[in-house]
């Protein structure tokens, strides 16, 4: 049987190399032309604790972690107990027989990983033992991984040869050993190296890079899972003349510091998760009222309160679009893939300057920690956002009229007060009714400047549409492809611009009899917003802390559309 993809789950104790193995497999596979992505969940503790990461290796580009586990690599007994049920019936379990013994599972085979590694003279080759075994299971040509090893360890250092030799031996030992089991999953179709240059990158890294490419020059943050890697990335890579990155003492300091920086002329950003968004509420309102550009990234996790800090969820949409008291509706971009993490960040910085106010960029745990191969963004097409700077004389009326106006920069002409109280033309406080009317209309009117043309659209002739948002895009896309193959009359729509929605998209959606919105929250937050906009939207919800499986979506969409599936659905 020829396979187009397979999923390997590594499970064990934190610190046993679970993450390294999965990322190593993903990386080596992409280097020989496959597509790969990882999916990670962590225990919310520093050392130890049960943890698992899986890698999906595919001939074609994929955007979801995969429904079924083809191979489970269990580093200890507990990992086996917790995960064996998710291995598909004709899958394989490789267990570390140096660590424990297992009987009675006909799919399981013990691999003395550490012993084999030791016998090569290189204890650190344990990963390669596993890799060799995995390659054998899917009949991956030997040369692929051998090439990878040679390339990876040819670093021009003394001892490279020895390391290459031991790793090649580890590959061979893994292969030979698993061959004794007689297990085989089928044959993975040959890979085809894409012709474009690629990056192997995680969501949080792509987002950080996008922000920097978009012109970011001021970043502050406060540690919080799963947004912390963005802070760390900025502190390593953004600090320099005229650029600043810094850890402040709370999310309240984060939002107010970027308010100050945005006011003073910087393209400023912070990243946080749900609890931080709650603390930033008042500051976001100030940014909206005083018309100060800034970007807040919300890397969503399970909520409310401390919630599920290391699990994925899409339950912050309401608090991101309506983060503050009073009449506020903040522009929101929600990214759905690692590649979109890059472009969404570029766009968020651009939007903030374009309409002079707060923009919220939503990501989520499952994307943040996902390592994936993506086409290298073409930086020649990315222009850093520019501020519209006031260049006239003093006596400027910053807030006159209903339209966007140029911003004076401190130090230059046009001094004004950026005021969180309702204000008049020069920024002084006033509570006159006509001023509140004017300024409220001005603030909402500016959102129109952000209306985008582009959105994804397929099979538009059907009256039922699937419209996922954020990270549910991946599984929804797979579900849609299956349904399409089966002849289901459904159309596909997608945008990362949730507020404002591309106007033409909204028009189209309003014409549909049913718009199905898969989203990871209880209330169906996006469909509520769509219904308020006049769209007949209904959600498919899930709130497990885990992403959708494509199979679940296929089944539920079929039910909702009364579409009879012609065969058992496999992905």
């Amino acid at each position: 049987m020829q396979m187009r993809d397979f999923v390997v789950r590594f499970a064990g104790e934190g610190g046993q190399g679970v993450v390294t193995s999965a990322e190593g497999l993903a990386q080596s596979s992409t280097q020989v032309g496959y597509h790969a992505l990882t999916f990670a969940t962590f225990p919310s503790q520093i050392l130890g604790g049960p943890t698992w990461t899986q890698a999906r290796i595919s001939v074609d580009p994929v955007q979801a972690p995969g429904d079924d586990v083809d191979v489970l690599v269990a580093f200890n007994r507990e990992a086996y107990d917790n995960h064996y049920a998710e291995v598909r019936e004709d899958g394989v379990v490789i267990f570390n027989s140096t660590e424990f013994d297992l009987e009675g599972d006909s799919r399981a085979f013990g691999l003395p990983v550490e012993e084999l590694a030791r016998s090569t003279g290189n204890n650190r080759a344990a990963n390669m033992v596993i890799m060799g075994a995995l390659a054998h299971l899917v009949n991956m040509p030997h040369e692929y991984l051998e090439e990878f090893v040679e390339r990876r360890f040819s670093r021009g250092r003394e001892g490279d040869d020895e390391i290459i030799r031991s790793n090649l031996q580890a590959l061979r030992l893994g292969r030979e050993h698993i061959a004794l089991s007689g297990f085989n999953l089928g044959e993975l179709a040959p890979s085809k190296m894409p012709e474009y240059q690629q990056l192997m990158i995680k969501g949080n890294e792509a987002l950080s890079l996008g922000a920097i490419a978009g012109g970011l020059d001021f970043y502050v943050g406060y540690p919080i899972s799963p947004a912390t890697p963005i802070l760390l990335y900025m502190e390593r890579n953004l600090i320099g003349k005229d650029r600043f990155a810094y850890q402040v003492s709370s999310e309240i300091e984060s939002i107010t510091a970027i308010l100050g920086a945005g006011y003073a002329g910087k393209r400023a950003m912070t990243a946080t998760a749900g609890p931080g968004v709650s603390l930033m509420s008042e500051g976001l309102g100030l940014s909206w009222v005083a018309e100060i550009p800034l970007v807040v990234v919300d890397v969503q996790r399970g909520g409310p309160a401390t919630g599920l800090p290391t699990k994925t969820e899409q339950s912050d949409l309401m608090s991101c679009m309506f983060p503050a008291h009073g009449d506020v509706r903040v522009p929101v971009i929600a990214v759905g893939t690692v590649e979109e993490c890059f472009y969404g960040a570029v766009k968020a910085i651009e939007w903030a300057e374009k309409y002079q106010g707060p923009v919220i960029l939503m990501s989520e745990m499952a994307l943040a920690e996902r390592a994936q191969n993506i086409p290298k963004p073409d930086l020649s097409k990315v222009k850093p956002a520019q501020r519209w700077v006031y260049e006239g004389n003093n006596g400027y009326q910053r807030y006159a009229g209903y339209e966007l106006s140029p911003m004076p920069l401190p130090g230059g002409p046009g001094a004004y007060v950026a005021n969180g109280s309702e204000h008049d033309d020069i920024g002084d406080t006033t509570h006159l009714p006509e001023r509140h009317i004017q300024m409220t209309q001005r603030r909402f009117g500016k959102i129109k400047l952000l209306e985008e043309e582009y959105y994804e659209r397929e099979g538009a002739e059907h009256s039922v549409a699937i419209l996922p948002w954020g990270g549910s895009k991946g599984p929804a896309q797979e579900a849609y492809d299956i349904l399409k193959r089966q002849g289901a009359p459904v159309s596909w729509y997608y945008t990362m611009y949730l507020n404002p929605l591309p106007p033409k998209l909204l028009e189209e959606l309003k014409q549909k009899d049913l718009v199905i919105v898969p989203e990871l929250n209880y209330q169906g937050q996006f469909s509520s917003i769509l219904r308020a906009a006049g769209v007949k939207a209904e959600s498919i919800t899930q709130y497990t802390g885990l992403p959708f499986k494509a199979r679940t979506l296929v089944e539920r969409i079929s039910e909702m559309t009364n579409f009879r599936l012609t065969e058992a659905v496999g992905v």
């Binding site: 309240i252 003073a264 001094a415 007060v417 005021n419 002084d428 406080t429 509570h431």
Partner: protein
């Protein structure tokens, strides 16, 4: 209503201490500009919420930049302005409620950072704009609208707090003496680090302490204000502590430590090892 803006509907009560503080701040900014040759637009006044914060709209003459933000958060806003543009002169104006109660959590971090800004605090021992509730500097036992049976918390000593938190320039002033006060503020602006000028700025409506501060010989009231003597060594923390413990309200520079680099200097020192990389450079590390 002010002359410059007929729509502006806020005004201080007659006799409010904040008038004197405004005058002192204007003097300090103008004197400094005359010395440096920089335009008024080089100043950014970050205001807290309350009577005192409204100062930013009431400044006369050439206008500085201003930000009238949210309650209690003037310090971290100032952090953003200053670290974005270290060449700007950043001044915080706030009251005792804004700065010491809701905003109290921000003093310690700025002190540790030695953020190079000047906070001018107008202490009237009461929440004025919300009409007379007790504040951190209201005295124990005082009856206010929110303490109908007398305040049951101890009054905090702001100067002692600042000293403990490591604020590197601490001055104590009085709104009734705008000229001397302006010199304390200007020295704070010149100080290379976090400076706080804590000003007694009485509220004539809810907590009129003018007589108590200045004294009244006819009534036999001794003034609580006293001048910090010339022989006080402000570089000594121990001496500063003595001044604060002496009771009453000192007027002058209480503490002045110029030995610590300001945050922006520490950041600049980092540039030797840290390096801002271009997106192109950064992206290369993910290529394969």
């Amino acid at each position: 209503m002010s002359k410059k803006n007929p729509e502006y509907d806020f005004k201080w009560c007659p006799g409010c201490g904040d008038f004197g503080v405004r005058r002192a701040l204007e003097f300090a900014m103008i004197d400094r500009l005359e010395e440096t040759g920089l335009p008024m637009e080089n100043n950014v006044v970050v205001a807290g919420i309350g009577c005192s914060g409204n100062l930013v709209h009431l400044l006369e003459g050439d206008q500085p930049y201003g930000m009238h933000g949210i309650h209690g958060r003037s310090l971290p806003i100032a952090l953003g302005v200053k670290m974005a543009r270290p060449e700007l002169n950043v001044v915080v104006v706030a009251g005792d409620g804004d700065f010491l109660s809701i905003g109290g959590e921000h003093i310690g971090p700025q002190a540790a950072r030695n953020l190079n800004i000047t906070a001018v605090i107008m202490d009237n021992g009461v929440y004025g704009l919300t009409k007379g509730q007790s504040s951190p500097t209201t005295k124990l036992g005082v009856i206010t609208s929110s303490t109908p049976y007398g305040k049951i918390e101890s009054q905090i000593n702001p100067l002692e707090l600042y000293l403990t938190l490591g604020v590197s320039y601490i001055a104590s002033g009085f709104s009734g003496q705008p000229r001397p006060l302006s010199r304390l503020i200007k020295q704070g602006m010149e100080h290379p680090g976090f400076s706080i000028v804590h000003v007694q700025s009485p509220c004539t409506t809810y907590n009129d302490t003018f007589e108590e501060l200045k004294g009244n010989p006819r009534k036999g009231i001794e003034p609580t204000l006293w001048e910090v003597p010339d022989d006080h060594d402000p570089s000594s923390k121990a001496a500063a502590y003595d001044v604060i413990q002496r009771g009453g309200l000192p007027v002058g520079v209480v503490y002045n430590d110029e030995s610590r680099p300001a945050l922006e200097q520490r950041v600049e020192q980092m540039w030797d090892t840290a390096r801002a990389r271009s997106a192109e450079e950064l992206m290369a590390s993910f290529e394969f």
